[in-house]
Symmetry: C2
Subunit: 215 residues, 2 copies
Amino acid sequence: MTGTTSAVPSRSDAVRNRRLLLDAAAAMFAEHGVEVSIGEIAQRAGVGKGTVFRHFSSKDELLAAIMLGMLGELLDTGTALLTADDPGTALREFMAAGVELFVRDRAFCEVIGRPSLQHAEVRDAIDRLRDVAEGLTARARHQGVVRPDVTGTDVVLLLAGIQHTAAPLLVTEPQAWRRYLQLALDGITTQTGRSLPYPPPSRLPLAPADTDQAR
Amino acid sequence: MTGTTSAVPSRSDAVRNRRLLLDAAAAMFAEHGVEVSIGEIAQRAGVGKGTVFRHFSSKDELLAAIMLGMLGELLDTGTALLTADDPGTALREFMAAGVELFVRDRAFCEVIGRPSLQHAEVRDAIDRLRDVAEGLTARARHQGVVRPDVTGTDVVLLLAGIQHTAAPLLVTEPQAWRRYLQLALDGITTQTGRSLPYPPPSRLPLAPADTDQAR
DNA sequence: ACCAAAGCGGACCGCACGGTCATGTTGGGG
DNA sequence: CCCCAACATGACCGTGCGGTCCGCTTTGGT
């Protein structure tokens, strides 16, 4: 389901090394963020630095391959939940899965939060994720458990926000994000006589070009 | 009120250059984050690179000086609001000021969010901020407009979270954070029969040492 | 068993960064 | 006006990064 970025090689040692590399990179990115060096990843995988660039044309390509995998999983989870019985708990479970993904993977947070360094495919995946979230939110809205003016884009944005709220506590209290997820859920739940002060964003901007203008 | 990190120099050209440097660094850090190079800051200030290190012993020192200034302002705002008439709107205004600070300054987000690279003085300032937030929250709680199990630490954490929620929209919709601030406020507001699933964090960890373990 | 092609590895390149230093310049007290 | 201490400067250094390249090894078809 997740189209790999580069073609998968034919020789046995190559496919084995590719697996080792993907696993090592996923672990290192998750633990240390996008700043880990290619050398460290290669070392962890037990291969030479050159081998990394044989399998992935650049560091960005490697990063994108892993991010796409994770986004694909979340997308599948969300799609499955679209046909769940209770729309309210379905939305809740989707958000829990999303926040947990952010919490577990530091690079994931950094990539999603800074669209400037995003691959086109990653942006597409996020767009599809937004669609799924839109569906889940619409169902919950129809059931009346969610405010009428809350959108799927809101939900996706909140995932990153909740993770970031609990981030400083992550080491000492790894489960604290559940507290802030509930807080957010209570915020988007139907409340009498309350409205949000700013119109819902129509869509995620394609590539905000970061805040950096050309130097 | 804000104790500068290094002693302020005596000669007139030195004090002028120090001002230029602080202004340039503040602008650059706000716009591009902590990653801006000393060279770029010096260029913007119209001085040589060496001059930067004459005034601040390291890049971290310069960064800390600016962060302390901003934290001081927010601290003053919060302290003033402690004696405001309506505790509910006081808390709201404090949070609005806090989020706006995050939104305006990229380096501020990065420093607050990654305690590993924090100066001791910065951590102290954040602690004092937490105390002020505790006071504001307690007042609002006594008035009954805020959940009994929401703490000042929650409020401080939410500031960063709200900014991060709206971050991807910042370029296209700079005011979107107000939407998510309201959402968070609705979340922490008194609601019948709802409770948070995770106990309130007692305090911010002092220095979570990042997620990086020694290499 | 052989061999071409595919894969591997690590020395190597160019670059940008934070920080230092020797040299030249300037301000302001006497 | 003079002089020296305080200051400014940019060439320079060490380091670590992403990415390249070429000689060697392994694989798998014949």
